[in-house]
């Protein structure tokens, strides 16, 4: 048994960027130059997605037509399970994404496959496949193995592998998906309401606040500070969930990505992985936190261990207008 099978992710007919990252992850996990990498496209019109995965590092594309266009956990589980049983790849890669949260564990549990999630490194020791993930809020790394498992399913963390650059013309084959029970039916997609006219994705300088601000009454201080600094005020999830700032200001996996940001000043944000997903790529990150052990210091460019209110006041004095 050999070969690596990548389960592409699409949403509303568009490939998700995690798909190509997995192609690079697969390259890092190949045991020999001859080990083949196949990408499975599961969609109502999978052939439309072929050009998007015709990239260097892909040997084969498998199209699997699904009944529904939108995510259906039972359909995915049945189709991917049947594909794995038909091909018995040594390694199956899925993105560690909201969609895979919804079916990958069920797939692995039913198939008795080796399984790990949020994996950011794949390696081998002898014949043993090793997957590395974080633990205790990313403060430690955990290496797991899969004794006795012929098939291992790994959900790969996003933004860890650069997508391949070259194009290729992989062979295309088809696989007939088994019928799935209709127990979960997609009704509609709802775009986040624009409760605010700010577009966080275009902001170049973001001052972001988190749980460390303590209470709602303190939001105004940081709003004023952001104005004086010329920054756009953003926040981590707890601030938006509490309704202290609109959801449109939230940076992170379920919020906005700070795509255009060049300077990110995080105050009182401990650095949950979901928040980091929206900002860790920013070239200059300054983290201010009273807790020297906060996870955000592991990805920040500069760190300040101090009371955020004292720093805020002292910083404000440097910007007199």
């Amino acid at each position: 048994m050999s070969g690596i099978l990548i389960i592409a992710e699409q949403r509303r007919g568009e490939l998700r960027p995690a798909t190509l990252e997995m192609v690079s992850a697969a390259q890092s996990a190949r045991r020999s130059a001859g080990e083949r990498v196949a990408v499975a496209l599961l969609a109502d019109e999978p052939q439309r997605l072929i050009p998007g995965v015709s990239v260097a590092g892909v040997d084969e594309i498998v199209t699997v037509q699904t009944a529904a266009r939108d995510f259906d956990p039972d359909a995915l589980e049945a189709a991917v399970g049947a594909l794995i049983e038909a091909r018995r790849p040594a390694l199956v890669l899925v993105p560690h994404s909201i969609d895979s949260f919804g079916y990958a564990a069920a797939l692995a549990a039913k198939g008795n496959y080796g399984f790990a999630t949020d994996v950011f490194r794949i390696g081998y020791e002898g014949d043993a496949l090793l997957a590395t993930r974080g633990g205790y809020g990313q403060k430690v790394n955990v290496e797991v193995d899969f004794p006795g498992r012929a098939v291992v399913v790994l959900a790969m963390r996003g933004n860890m592998f650069k997508p391949p650059e070259g194009r290729a013309t992989p062979a295309v084959s088809h696989f007939a998906a088994p019928p799935a029970r209709a127990r979960v039916t997609g009704l509609e997609f709802i775009e986040p309401t624009a409760s605010d006219d700010i577009d966080m994705t275009s902001a170049e300088f973001i001052l972001a606040i988190g749980r460390g601000i303590g209470e709602q009454a303190n939001v105004a201080r940081f709003q004023e500070l952001a104005r004086a600094l010329g920054a756009v005020l953003g926040c981590s999830r707890p601030i938006a969930d509490a309704g202290w700032l609109p959801k449109s200001r939230q940076i992170g996996q379920s919020g906005k990505t700070a795509s255009a940001c060049k300077l990110y000043v995080a105050m009182g944000i401990s650095g949950a992985i979901q928040h980091l997903a929206g900002m860790k790529h920013v070239s200059t990150i300054v983290a201010v936190n009273a807790d020297a052990g906060a996870s955000i210091f592991s990805i920040a460019t500069y760190g300040i261990v101090a009371d955020i209110f004292e720093i805020a006041d002292a910083l404000r004095a440097h910007f007199p207008h």
Partner: protein
């Protein structure tokens, strides 16, 4: 009708900590325990269903873990759970999220809930897999990362919204009984009153071993798991360059960085 809420007693690390001699976990003395943040929301969602219901609803909290996990269950009882079950025995050491899910599924078979909630993930190891694996063992419909739920006890289906990347919501109809993994922000969890904390301390917690649920020894622990921890280690220190000094000195350096990197904007 019952709602079964699967909760976890999570651990966070003390500022200084040591890795265990076998290199597979942190020494227990350095772990600070608490109820998983996500589970606070799923418990609240279950209690809200009971409060809005016109028919009797029982909220049952279940936790897989050793004695000290009772603390998490007491918290659930104080916040409105009617009953608490804890499952543990030494054979379950080394269980991954899938083996844990098998045990929760066995509890669900006994309790026959109309809905089963789990947190999207746990704050400590963030597998994001236990709840959906429970659904696999039960062969129940499932949906993950739910931020909105419309359900009437006894109804044949529920309407849920799952929260996707970027904040887009996907509304789905799901047949019941079902397993839902609950996302932060679905509600505002209540605080337990002193009175309810006192009352919770006196409530019984049912304690079971895996064999009580008809689970074989080979189905728990490392043998019943799909992965095994081989090594835990502290990664190389992050790249943050620390700005030291007094508050004024730190703020002055930060102001300088802002002038340099965002000078045009300020």
């Amino acid at each position: 009708m019952k709602v079964l809420v699967a909760v976890k007693q999570v651990a966070s690390l003390d500022e200084d900590f040591e890795i265990r001699a076998d290199g597979k976990d942190v020494e227990a003395d350095f772990l600070l325990r608490d109820l998983n943040e996500w589970d606070d929301y799923s418990l609240e969602e279950a209690v809200k269903i009971r409060e809005a219901a016109t028919t009797p609803v029982e909220v049952v909290a279940v936790c897989i873990g050793p004695d000290d996990a009772d603390e998490a269950l007491r918290k659930c009882l104080a916040k409105g759970a009617d009953r608490a079950i804890r499952v543990w025995d030494d054979a379950m050491l080394g269980s991954d999220s899938i083996a844990i899910a098998r045990v929760i599924a066995a509890v669900a078979r006994r309790e026959q809930p109309g809905l089963l909630f789990a947190g999207v993930q746990s704050a400590d190891h963030a597998f994001a897999s236990t709840g959906i694996a429970v659904a696999a063992f039960l062969d129940w419909p499932h949906a993950a990362v739910i931020t909105q739920l419309a359900y009437t006890p006894g109804a044949a289906h529920a309407v849920v919204r799952r929260e996707l990347e970027g904040g887009v919501l996907h509304e789905m109809r799901i047949d019941c009984p079902a397993v839902l993994t609950i996302q932060l922000g679905i509600n505002t969890p209540r605080y337990a009153s002193l009175r309810s904390i006192k009352q919770a301390a006196a409530k019984p917690i049912e304690v079971l071993a895996h064999a009580d649920l008809g689970i074989a020894d080979s189905e728990v622990g490392e043998g019943g798991s799909l992965s095994r921890v081989r090594r835990m280690y502290v990664p190389e220190k992050g790249r943050a360059q620390m700005i030291e000094g007094s508050i004024e000195e730190q703020a002055a350096r930060l102001a300088q960085l802002i002038e340099e990197r965002a000078g045009g904007a300020a």
